[in-house]
């Protein structure tokens, strides 16, 4: 049982790390700001979500588990909003950057 | 060490130390909430109470002949914070209370809330900041924990810097910003030194540290960092760049407090550091170096003061020189020599007499600038006759700066001279004499046109009561020259360099 949970953790965290990797690559390689924004918001939210998922079996209490989920929710919320804000700012400037 | 154990025990009257700090702190809070005219009323009402508290503490120190000690929350150091008042604290507390009261009395005319408005910007800020400076100084004079002193130093910075630019003119803003940068640099270096001392000894209490310090690299580096930081705050040459514009551009009442008291706050902390925390260090070379910087400051500041066209700038540059004298205390009062008593007394006497003399001169300069509409020295012809009391205060302050008898400045310089001759530090003796001559030169530069015959139309005559505030301070500066032997014995109370001697 423990082994299975560990395996689950490892798989989820590894997948999360991969999404971070993908996000960074996107940020570095994509040609313009809007597509970079796209890469960023998809990748980092999924990345953190998978890491949180992987850590869930390791927490001590229900409250800690809730906190982990809340962290993810907060990052999702702020990520979505700030992506929107940055996108608007870019469009106002003509997206020429 | 019996001395150390005794210095850690709370004594009778210790609660007064907390009250002395809390009084202006409560004043700040009340003034902030009530605002408007209440800020002024609170500050002026608390000044005499604070003076009584300061006198009471000094009296207790004098009567017991030993420091007054209080452990906050009843928790002894190292985990708790102690407050300790000795002879040095006693005289500085009284000095601060007197000068703050005089400056406040003087400032009523400048910083009154105008009729018809409930609150105005400059008065609101001035009265709160004045009390803030006062609280910070009291803390610096009686604090016994190096981190608590850090908070005190920051309190002083935050209260002093905005005073410089109360007028809002661009040049005052530049001066305030430069002052802030130097002060912040000073605090952060001081804090770094404190961190190293804590890392080496696990306490920041002055008495506990003094029993533990040994000449380790960490202690040397901490001493160097803290000293450098404090010198920047005290404006000792060559870290003085910020002082002349800041002190010359501030409103007169603020300049009096800044020049007379604020630089002494960080100076007292340097004294605590070298004479109370680090007497165990074989620091002769460092002490002589501080004395050499002081000497350079005396000559440099005096020469520049001679060349200033404006009165307030001249007085500000003279502060640079007079700060230099303070630092002669380090080579002349350290170690275990017979002359160190003279060196210590001379250094403290200089601290006190300069505080009163300089505050008196800045208040007078403010009156002159208001009455003449300018402070260009070359155009003072006949001013002495038009406003005699003001120039009397200015002249008496100048007398003390020159070190002519009878004055506190004379007593200070005489003691320092005697100590440097006894110690064989001939260079310091020569600098003391040269500094006196240069001071005579710049004081003469102010007074000679003013006393010359000439007709002068005042824009407005100076207010009698304000002239008297300046004169009272100048008289105290002179009267210090008549201090009896008991006064000098008082200054020695709790001097740890002596206590630490076998």
């Amino acid at each position: 049982m423990n082994f299975a949970l560990d395996l689950f953790s490892i798989a989820a965290i590894a997948a999360g790390a991969f999404f971070f990797f993908a996000g960074s690559v996107g940020l570095l390689r994509f040609p313009d700001s809007l597509t970079r924004l796209h890469a960023l918001s998809k990748a980092d939210n999924l990345g953190l979500g998978l890491v949180v998922l992987g850590l869930l079996p390791r927490v001590g209490s229900l409250l800690d588990a809730l906190k982990l989920l809340a962290i993810w929710a907060l990052v999702l919320l702020s990520g979505a909003a700030s992506a929107q804000l940055i996108g608007r700012a870019l469009r106002r400037r003509g997206g020429d950057e | 060490m019996i001395e150390t154990a005794a210095a850690l025990e709370p004594t009778f009257g210790g609660p007064l130390l907390v009250l002395a700090i809390l009084l202006p702190v409560v004043g700040v809070l009340l003034s902030f909430v009530l605002g408007g005219r209440f800020a002024e009323r609170v500050a002026l009402a608390l000044a005499p109470v604070g003076l009584v508290l300061a006198l009471a503490i000094a009296f207790l120190v004098w009567r017991s002949g030993a420091p007054v000690v209080y452990n906050i929350a009843g928790l002894a150091p190292p985990l708790g914070i102690a407050l300790r008042a000795d002879g040095l604290s006693g005289v500085m507390l009284v000095t601060a209370a007197l000068i703050v009261a005089a400056a406040g009395f003087y400032a009523r005319a400048t910083f009154a809330t105008p009729e018809g408005s409930t609150e105005a910007r400059a008065p609101f800020a001035f009265w709160i900041l004045l009390q803030g400076i006062w609280a910070a100084l009291i803390l610096l004079f009686i604090g016994a924990d190096l981190f608590n002193l850090y908070v005190g130093l920051e309190l002083l910075t935050f209260a002093a810097v905005p005073l410089v630019c109360l007028s809002g003119k661009p040049e005052t803003l530049v001066a305030a910003l430069r002052y802030l940068m130097f002060a912040l640099f000073g605090s952060v270096f001081y804090l770094l030194g404190a961190a190293l001392l804590y890392g080496a000894y696990g306490t920041l209490d002055i008495v506990l540290l003094s029993g533990r310090v040994a000449p380790l690299p960490a202690v040397w580096l901490a001493a160097g960092l803290m000293t450098a930081g404090l010198l920047a705050k005290t404006a000792l040459f060559p870290l003085h760049l910020w002082l002349p514009p800041a002190h010359a551009n501030a409103p007169a009442a603020a300049s009096a407090v800044l020049s007379g008291l604020v630089v002494k706050g960080s100076f007292v902390v340097v004294v605590r550091l070298w004479f109370y925390v680090l007497p165990a260090l074989p620091g002769d070379a460092a002490q002589v170096f501080l004395g050499a910087l002081g000497s350079a400051a005396i000559l440099f500041g005096s020469v520049l003061a001679l060349r200033q066209p404006r009165l307030k700038l001249l007085i500000a540059y003279s502060t640079l020189a007079q700060i230099g004298y303070l630092f002669l205390i380090f080579p002349l009062a350290s170690g275990q020599h017979p002359w160190t008593i003279d060196g210590w007394n001379g250094g403290l006497m200089q601290t006190l007499s300069h505080a009163f003399a300089k505050a008196a001169m800045f208040l007078s300069a403010g009156l002159i600038a208001e009455s003449l509409g300018h402070d260009r020295i070359a155009e003072f012809t006949g001013a002495g006759r038009a406003m005699p009391v003001t120039f009397l205060a200015l002249g008496l302050g100048g007398l003390s700066l020159m070190g002519l008898p009878p004055s506190g400045g004379f007593a200070a310089k005489w003691l320092l001279l005697r100590a440097s001759v006894a110690a064989g530090h001939w260079v310091f003796a020569l600098v003391l004499l040269a500094g006196g001559l240069l001071a005579a030169g710049y004081v003469f530069r102010i007074l000679s046109p003013a006393l010359a015959d000439g007709s002068l139309v005042l824009k407005s005559p100076p207010q009698r009561s304000r002239e008297h505030a300046a004169l009272a301070l100048a008289v105290v500066a002179v009267a210090l020259g008549f201090a009896p032997q008991e006064f000098f014995d008082f200054l020695q109370i709790g001097r740890m360099a002596v206590a630490a001697q076998p």
Binding site: - | L79, V174, A176, V188, Y198, G199
Partner: protein
């Protein structure tokens, strides 16, 4: 090399770096950033002292940690005061440099006597 030693070295480097920035950067806002770097370096020194003082079941000595918290708050207040001065200076004169031969302070020689 323990994490606390490493953090101490980082702290030392940050102090040096901030000092350099404080001296060479003419823009006051950048000076504030540099000052904050020095500050965090100093706090790290407190931090390693606290960590090395682990005892009695505490993984750290709480006293230096509390000092850091006080220090951080004070450093923020300092930044805020400096920023207010800089912005006001900018409003008054349009200039933001502190170290050039201050054009803003020239009028003082003639004007302050008023």
């Amino acid at each position: 090399m323990t994490p606390s030693t490493l953090a101490g070295l980082v702290g030392a480097a940050l102090v040096g770096l901030g000092l350099y920035g404080l001296i060479v950067n003419p823009q006051p806002l950048r000076k504030i950033l540099a000052f904050n770097l020095i500050g965090s370096g100093v706090f790290l020194v407190f931090g390693i002292v606290a960590r090395k003082g682990a005892a009695a079941g505490f993984p750290f000595d709480p006293v230096p940690q509390a000092m850091v918290i006080t220090g951080i708050v004070v450093a923020f207040a300092a930044s805020a005061l400096a920023v207010a001065l800089i912005l006001r200076l900018h409003e008054e004169t349009g200039q933001v440099l502190l170290d050039d031969e201050n054009p803003a302070s020239l009028p003082s020689e003639q004007g302050a006597g008023k």
